[in-house]
C-alpha cells in the first residue's frame, strides 16, 4: 500500500450557536460543521469531495491549509501534524499546499497589476531573484493560457474565465505538490467551465500535482476525479473510485444525489426527489447523519451512528443496511 501524501483523521470543527440575544449569554448549543472526517490523498491523484452546501467540504479544505483551526483530529502531511502547527511553522509548508478559490476576483488585490500579483508568492517564499521571478511569471502566464501582454494589466480587466486562470496561475507558480480547489468552476458559464476543467486536467499531468477538488456539481466531480468522497452533514458517507461509485452507489444519500442530476441524453426521466431539508447537527444529534431524510431508516439508524466500512476493495460506505 502506498503512503498517502495527506491524511486527515477524525477532524472535528464545532461552532457555537447563540440564543436571540447573541453573544451576551453563553451559546445555547454547538453546531458540528465537520465531525469525524477522515480522508487520505495519494500523490498524483485527484480526490473529489462532493456534497451540498453546508456539508462541511469547504471547512475541511480550509482546515488542511490551517486557515481554520480544528477542535479535534489530525492532519498528517509529510510526517507532520498540520493541525498542531503555528501560523509561522505553517508558512514554509504553504509552498507545497496551495488553494484555488471559487471567486478569484475577491481574493486578488484590485490595485496590483497581474505581474506583481503573480510574483508575490515567490517573494514571500523567497524564491529566485528579480529576473528569474519575472521569467517564472511569464512562463506560468503562458501555461494557464494567458499572454505576456497581461503582465501589466489589472485583474478587473479580465473576464471571469481569465480571472480563474490567474487564480490557478497564482497557486501554481511556486510549484506546489497539493492544490485544494474549492469550487473553482461554480461561478463560470458552462462553456468557460469546460475550458478550465480541461486545463486543470492537463496541468495536473504536466506538473504531477495532487488535487483535492471540492464541488457540489456531480458531473464536474465525476469528470475530474480519480476517487470521490461524498459528504453529508459534516461526515463522509461513502468513498470509492469514480467508476465504482457511479456504477454502484451504495449509500441512500449518494443514490438520491446521483438521481437528482437530470440526465439530458436519456430525455425526460423524472429525477427522484429527496424530501425534507438538512437538519442541524448539534451535540445531541444521534444516529446516522442521513436518518432524517432516508427512506430506509430503521430504529437502529436513529440511535447508532454507522461506521465507515470497506465493502469491496477501495469502496467504503457508512450505512447499517446498504
Amino acid at each position: 500500500m502506498r503512503e498517502p501524501l495527506l491524511e486527515v483523521k477524525g477532524l472535528k470543527k464545532r461552532y457555537p450557536v447563540y440564543g436571540p440575544l447573541g453573544k451576551l449569554f453563553k451559546p445555547v448549543n454547538h453546531m458540528n460543521a465537520v465531525c469525524d472526517m477522515c480522508l487520505a490523498l495519494y500523490e498524483g491523484e485527484t480526490y473529489g469531495l462532493v456534497g451540498e452546501s453546508g456539508c462541511g467540504k469547504t471547512t475541511t479544505g480550509r482546515a488542511i491549509l490551517g486557515l481554520i483551526h480544528p477542535d479535534e483530529g489530525e492532519i498528517l502531511y509529510g510526517g507532520k501534524d498540520l493541525a498542531k502547527l503555528s501560523d509561522k511553522e505553517m508558512r514554509p509548508l504553504r509552498k507545497e499546499i496551495q488553494l484555488v478559490f471559487q471567486d478569484p476576483l475577491s481574493s486578488l488585490n484590485p490595485r496590483q497589476r497581474i505581474g506583481s500579483l503573480l510574483e508575490e508568492p515567490l517573494i514571500i517564499q523567497k524564491i529566485g531573484d528579480g529576473e528569474s521571478r519575472r521569467r517564472a511569471v511569464i512562463d506560468i502566464l503562458e501555461k494557464v493560457g494567458l499572454a505576456e501582454e497581461h503582465y501589466f494589466r489589472y485583474p478587473h480587466e479580465l473576464s471571469g474565465g481569465q480571472v480563474q486562470r490567474l487564480g490557478i496561475a497564482r497557486a501554481l507558480i511556486i510549484n506546489p505538490k497539493l492544490i485544494i480547489c474549492d469550487e473553482p468552476v461554480s461561478a463560470l458559464d458552462v462553456s468557460i467551465q469546460a475550458q478550465i476543467l480541461n486545463m486543470l486536467k492537463r496541468l495536473q499531468k504536466e506538473m504531477n500535482l495532487s488535487l483535492l477538488f471540492i464541488s457540489h456539481d456531480i458531473g464536474v466531480i465525476r469528470y475530474i476525479s480519480n476517487r470521490i468522497g461524498v459528504m453529508y452533514l459534516g461526515s463522509l458517507v461513502e468513498e470509492a473510485e469514480t467508476e465504482q461509485l457511479f456504477e454502484k452507489p451504495l449509500h441512500p444519500y449518494t443514490q438520491a444525489l446521483f438521481s437528482s442530476v437530470p440526465d439530458l441524453s436519456a430525455g425526460r426521466r423524472k429525477p427522484e426527489i429527496l424530501e425534507g431539508e438538512r437538519p442541524m447537527r448539534t451535540d445531541e444529534f444521534m444516529g446516522c447523519v442521513f436518518h432524517t431524510r432516508c427512506r430506509y431508516a430503521t430504529d437502529r439508524c436513529r440511535t447508532e451512528a454507522p461506521r465507515m466500512r470497506e465493502v469491496s476493495p477501495g469502496h467504503k460506505v457508512a450505512c447499517h443496511n446498504e
Binding site: E52, S53, S159, G160, G161, D189, V190, S191, I192, Q193, A194, Q195, L197, N198, K201, R202, H216, D217, I218, G219, V220, R222, Y223, T242, F246, A256, L257, F258, S260, V261, P262, D263, L264, S265, G267, R268, K270, P271, I273, L274, E275, E277
Partner: protein, 338 residues
C-alpha cells in the same frame, strides 16, 4: 396543450438599448416571442446574453436605474406594455405578472415578518382586510409546501432556509393569481436536492392554476425537467427555439450543440478532453456584424461574418437563426469521420 387560443404575451421585434454616454448598447436585439396561457417557456443562455434584461423589461423594472430605450412591441393580455404610464404598470406588477428572483433573501424585506409582507400584496391589489389577508397568506404558504404555515407567517426571512425562502417568494408571487409568472434563475442559489423540490412545485402550480411561466436560467438541465418549449439566447438574440424534446433530441444551431456538449454529463468519457466553445461572449460594444455567434462558431463562413441570418422554420415550431444549420446526426457523422 392548446396552441390555437389567444396568446398571453406577444413580443414583436423587441429591442432594448442601454445608453452609455454617446453609444447605444443593444442588450436585446429583435426578439420575437409568444407565450400562451398555461405554457412553461424556458429561456436559456450564458451570462450577458440578455435573458434577464428581457424578462425584467416585460415589467419595466429597469427604467429607474439605467437609461433604457425600447423598440418594438410587447403586448400582454391585449395591452401594449411599453406605452403604458408607469402608474398603470403598478397594477400589472405583482397582480397580473409576478416575478421571483434568484436570491430570495435580497428580495424579501428583512425587517418585516413573512406574514406582513404577504398581506401587503393582498391588501394593495385585492383590497382585502387584514384578517382575510392573513388567512389567505397561510393558505398560500400551505399551497407551496411550507410545513408549518401558521408559524412561518410570524417568522422573519432570515430564520428560514434557502429553500423555504424561495417557497415564500413563490407564495407571494401567487398571491394575486397572476396569469404569468416570471422566474429568473429561481433555483440557481439552491442545492440540487432542493432545486428539484422547487421545480416540481412550479410544475404542479402550473398544472393546478393554469398559470403560464417564463423560466429564465443558464442551466439546460433545469429546462429539460419542466419546460414545454425552450428558447436559446445568445448576445441579445434568440438563436434557436423549439419544443423541449425536439431541442434536446435534435439541436440545430452550433451554439445550442456546443452548450449541450460542454456539460460534463454523467456518461461523458473521462479520458477525453471536454468539448469547448472557444473564446468568450464579446461585450455589447463589440457585437460582430452578421451572425452574432460568428466569432466563436466552428463552422462560420464568409456569409456568416457579413450578413445576419434569418430565423428559419425547420419543422413546425422549430426555428433556427443560422445560415447553415446542421442536423445532430450530421454532426455525429462528421465526428466519426475525424
Amino acid at each position: 396543450m392548446e396552441t390555437n387560443n389567444k396568446p398571453l404575451l406577444e413580443m414583436e421585434n423587441f429591442h432594448i438599448y442601454f445608453r452609455d454616454r454617446k453609444k447605444r448598447l443593444p442588450a436585446v436585439s429583435g426578439v420575437n416571442m409568444t407565450i400562451h396561457p398555461g405554457e412553461i417557456v424556458g429561456v436559456v443562455g450564458e451570462s450577458g446574453s440578455g435573458k434577464s434584461v428581457m424578462s425584467q423589461s416585460i415589467l419595466r423594472l429597469r427604467e429607474h436605474e439605467a437609461d433604457v430605450e425600447y423598440e418594438g412591441s410587447v403586448v400582454f393580455e391585449g395591452q401594449e406594455i411599453l406605452k403604458l404610464p408607469l402608474a398603470q404598470m403598478q397594477s400589472i406588477r405583482g397582480n397580473r405578472i409576478s416575478v421571483i428572483f434568484q436570491d430570495p433573501l435580497t428580495s424579501l424585506n428583512p425587517v418585516l415578518t413573512v406574514g406582513k409582507q404577504m398581506e401587503e400584496v393582498l391588501i394593495l391589489h385585492k383590497k382585502m382586510s387584514r384578517q382575510d389577508a392573513r388567512a389567505r397568506s397561510t393558505e398560500l404558504l400551505r399551497l407551496t409546501g411550507v410545513p408549518y404555515p401558521e408559524r412561518c407567517v410570524r417568522q422573519y426571512p432570515y430564520e428560514l432556509s434557502g429553500g423555504m425562502q424561495q417557497r415564500v417568494m413563490i407564495s407571494m408571487a401567487l398571491a394575486c393569481e397572476p396569469s404569468l409568472l416570471i422566474a429568473d434563475e429561481p433555483t440557481t442559489a439552491l442545492d440540487v436536492t432542493i432545486q428539484n423540490q422547487i421545480l416540481r412545485l412550479l410544475s404542479e402550480l402550473n398544472q393546478k392554476l393554469g398559470m403560464a411561466i417564463l423560466l429564465i436560467t443558464h442551466d439546460l438541465s433545469v429546462m429539460a425537467q419542466i419546460c414545454h418549449s425552450v428558447r436559446v439566447m445568445y448576445l441579445g438574440q434568440i438563436v434557436e427555439e423549439a419544443k423541449t424534446e425536439e431541442l434536446f433530441d435534435n439541436p440545430m444551431h452550433p451554439y445550442t450543440q456546443g452548450l449541450l456538449d460542454c456539460i460534463p454529463h454523467l456518461d461523458v468519457d473521462r479520458e477525453k478532453p471536454l468539448h469547448v466553445i472557444t473564446g468568450t461572449v464579446p461585450p455589447l460594444s463589440q457585437i460582430p456584424v452578421g451572425c452574432h455567434f460568428c466569432t466563436r462558431c466552428p463552422y462560420a463562413t464568409e456569409q456568416c461574418r457579413k450578413n445576419e441570418p434569418p430565423a428559419v422554420e425547420i419543422s413546425p415550431g422549430h426555428r433556427v437563426k443560422c445560415w447553415n444549420p446542421r442536423m445532430g446526426n450530421e454532426k455525429k457523422r462528421e465526428e466519426n469521420a475525424i
